[in-house]
């Protein structure tokens, strides 16, 4: 059993939790993920690691409430336990030797982009951060990003905060005026990552995208997380989760990510109703 040691609501649909998991905290690196179950009969949810404290033995996760399982997790209180928390899984982000990097995060993906930006900043790299949200209410981790960025851009789709537009707007401007990045690292919705990769491709800037497909075990066993990268089948759990964005078949990944969309919508509704009943 793994105890929840802190919990914070970052916005109405995104929650941050710190989980006591010393074995995981000891080995975790930016870019890796964990799998948890929020209840004894719950599904296995993969979440990318948002932070870790080796001294305290804790791992930070940030999740969006999208389905029944994340809804259940969000109802857990500080001091309570979750039954399963396994990791670190996948390969860590490759940051060695990078001197000038652009980190592009979207929505809850910013939670995963942050430790990458921090690690790069800590090794002395020049970090440009571009983060985007649908609107002002959904903005998370602004101060944290500013603290580890040499250059910072805040974007909202509706212009209610920062600049109006998506993350590709400043990225395109920077590339057009000749900024030379060693690498662009992008984490966020599939559609956003697809467009980020399309933006960098003409400039030949190496672009890494962090994928979070459907998976069960996270150790290479189920093959549910398979992606087509450079025409080859890859498993996100063991070969990734980060891949060369210019090689990823995003359309296929987007289609596969919707496999259980109907089931999930129904499940979430059922779970919400259950919690509503509890409140009454």
């Amino acid at each position: 059993m793994y105890q929840i040691v802190s919990k914070k609501s970052l916005n109405p649909t995104v929650t941050q939790m710190e989980i006591l998991a010393p074995f995981v905290a000891k080995k975790a690196l930016p870019g890796q993920f964990i799998i948890l179950r929020a209840s004894e009969d719950g599904e296995r949810i993969p979440l990318t690691i948002a932070g870790y404290d080796r001294e305290k033995g804790t791992v930070t996760i940030i999740f969006q409430i999208v389905g029944a399982s994340t809804e259940t997790l969000n109802h857990k209180k500080v001091g309570e336990f979750i039954p399963d928390f396994v990791g670190p899984l996948g390969r860590p982000t490759h940051t060695d030797g990078l001197k000038k990097v652009c980190v592009v995060g979207g929505g809850v993906g910013c939670a995963i982009a942050l430790p990458v930006a921090r690690a790069l900043h800590a090794q002395g790299a020049e970090v440009t951060s571009i983060i985007g949200f649908r609107n002002k209410d959904l903005v998370i981790l602004e101060e944290e990003f500013k603290a580890c960025s040499n250059d910072f851009y805040m974007m909202t789709d509706d212009g209610s905060y920062g600049r109006q537009g998506n993350v590709c707007v400043p990225l395109n401007e920077l590339l057009a005026k000749g900024e030379q990045f060693d690498e662009v690292i992008t984490i966020g919705p599939l559609i956003m990552m697809k467009f980020v990769c399309a933006a960098t491709k003409p400039y030949g800037v190496k672009t890494i995208a962090s994928m979070n497909p459907i998976m069960i075990d996270g150790t290479g066993m189920c093959g549910g997380c398979r992606l087509t990268v450079g025409g080859q089948m890859k498993f996100a759990c063991v070969d990734g989760p980060e891949f060369d964005g210019h090689e990823i078949d995003f359309d296929e990944a987007m289609s596969r990510s919707r496999t259980y969309a109907d089931f999930e919508a129904h499940e979430r509704e059922e779970t919400c109703n259950l919690f509503k009943k509890e409140v009454q």
Binding site: F23, D41, P88, C222, R226, T259
Partner: protein, 474 residues
């Protein structure tokens, strides 16, 4: 007085759920012998001198001796004889391919028209009788002060852990998933091997003093080297299995509705997706093609059937070549699984719409296959299948399950410097399971590639003995 031997040429049939009823539920198919049936069947063993059955068993259970006890009605006595050599009798009685092992060599089954003694059925009866009637907890052996780590809690790991614990070792089993049991839990369905039986075997090990740590992906969270250097384990046994699924590399394998058998079975078995209230989804296909002819293919096909589908087994060779256990093939046929033999998929076809916003976009809509014919036998002795030109046809399916075998998980190879592997990723071992690293042993599918439960148990047993010798000689 009853006759000493039962000279009936045929086995007592196994009572089973009616096929038309069981293909709609997940309860166990075979119901097991009654005591009367077991005694009657046991009397078919003539206690022949050669005992070919014993040599044909990977763990060399003293089969004639245990059967003699059953014939006497001493079921606990029979159990104790089996337990000397096997740590998972309730499992093996259900899932061993007896027809190619003990029963395949039985003297009673040599003559045409005669069947072997039902050794597997008797083993199952004895183990179930013991579990139902005997509540004596196993007693831990006196501790010898040596620590051994076991990676993986499938049949190889559980057997190795049990044998070492009985010798007094302080054994910790590390399991990557959230429950122990490995393939017995995630792979083999409830209707063939009830999970309560596996849990009972794991509980027995815990009673022997074995510690089971779930959620531990060895290689990532702790490396093999750290187990030895930092955590003080004097030896490590790797029983990490062959979990990596294979695909065919044909067009359409990334469509929604295409599963590896591993994923389909893991969803159903481990995550209980077959239950209506499960939080883990699984596709309830209308028409499902399962590609492959092994036990896993039969398990996947019968699971899909129980979820309400019309199911086709698509296999490139013929009936004779089907690698699955005979009983599974018979059960599958009885349950209404359609066998499309000498048939090989060429591509999986998508739904027609090109619009990604259409909810029906990107799903399986059919599987194109080609007819095969068998040529001359190859080096393996099996007749190799060849495609019949121009014979392509389409089976209209909405779900495809690829059951083409699995290869060893590459994680330990990737994270353990100096661990030598063979061509297909199998960990290289000698005859007692010793790897290229001192104090590190391996057995089961991780060393052999996908094989059987009993073969893995045999390897776990041999390695336990080798580990004991290694530690005692230090």
């Amino acid at each position: 007085m009853a006759a000493k031997f039962n000279m009936n040429p045929l086995k007592n049939p196994m009572p089973a759920q009616d096929p038309e009823i069981r293909n709609g539920n997940f309860e166990e198919v075979a119901l097991g012998y009654t005591a009367e049936m077991a005694i009657d069947e046991a009397k078919r063993c003539i206690g022949c001198k050669n005992r070919p059955c014993v040599a044909a068993c990977h763990v060399n259970i003293k089969i004639p001796e245990f059967i003699a006890k059953v014939a006497e009605g001493d079921f606990e006595g029979a159990y104790q004889i089996i337990a000397e050599d096997s740590s998972l009798p309730a499992v093996c009685g259900r899932v061993c391919p007896q027809e190619t092992q003990c029963e395949g060599k039985c003297t009673r089954g040599i003559k045409a028209g005669c069947e072997a003694v039902g050794i597997g059925r008797l083993e199952r009866f004895v183990a179930d009788w013991h579990n139902a009637n005997c509540n004596v907890q196993p007693v831990p052996a006196p501790a010898n002060g040596h620590k051994v780590a076991v990676v993986g809690s499938g049949p190889a790991g559980l057997t190795c852990a049990g044998d070492l614990a009985k010798m007094g070792y302080d054994v910790t089993v590390f399991e990557a998933l959230h429950v122990a049991g490995g393939v017995l839990v995630y792979g083999i369905p409830e209707f063939r091997l009830p999970k309560a039986i596996v849990q009972k075997e794991v509980d027995n090990l815990k009673a022997l003093g074995v510690k089971v740590e779930t959620n531990m992906v060895i290689g990532r969270v702790i490396t093999i080297e750290e187990l030895k250097e930092e955590y003080g384990f004097e030896a490590v046994f790797i029983g990490s299995g062959a979990g990596l699924p294979k695909f065919m590399n044909i067009p359409g394998e990334s469509l929604k509705g295409v599963y590896s058998a591993n994923e389909f079975l893991t969803r159903s078995n481990l995550m209980k997706a077959y239950k209506p209230d499960s939080h883990t989804p699984i596709q309830h296909g209308k028409c499902v093609a399962v590609v492959g002819g092994g036990n896993v293919a039969m398990d996947a096909a019968r699971t899909a059937k129980r979820l309400g589908a019309e199911v086709h087994i698509v296999y490139r060779r013929g009936e004779e070549e089907l690698p699955a256990r005979r009983e599974e093939i018979e059960h599958a046929k009885e349950e209404g699984i359609i066998f499309d033999l000498l048939t090989n998929p060429t591509r999986i076809l998508p739904t027609e719409t090109d619009n990604p916003r259409d909810p029906s976009y990107g799903w399986v809509n059919g599987i194109e296959c080609i007819r095969m014919e068998l040529g001359e036998p190859d080096e393996s002795g099996r007749r190799s299948p060849k495609a019949v030109a121009g014979s392509e046809f389409i089976i209209p399916v909405d779900c495809v399950i690829m059951s083409l075998g699995t290869s060893p998980n590459p994680l330990l190879k990737a994270t353990t410097p100096g661990l030598e592997t063979l061509r297909r990723g199998e960990i290289a071992v000698d005859e007692v399971g010793k790897t290229s690293i001192e104090g590190v042993y391996c057995g089961g599918d991780a060393a052999t590639g996908a094989a059987t439960v009993i073969k893995a148990m045999g390897a776990g047993k041999i390695a336990a003995k080798a580990i004991d010798e290694y530690i005692q000689s230090k």
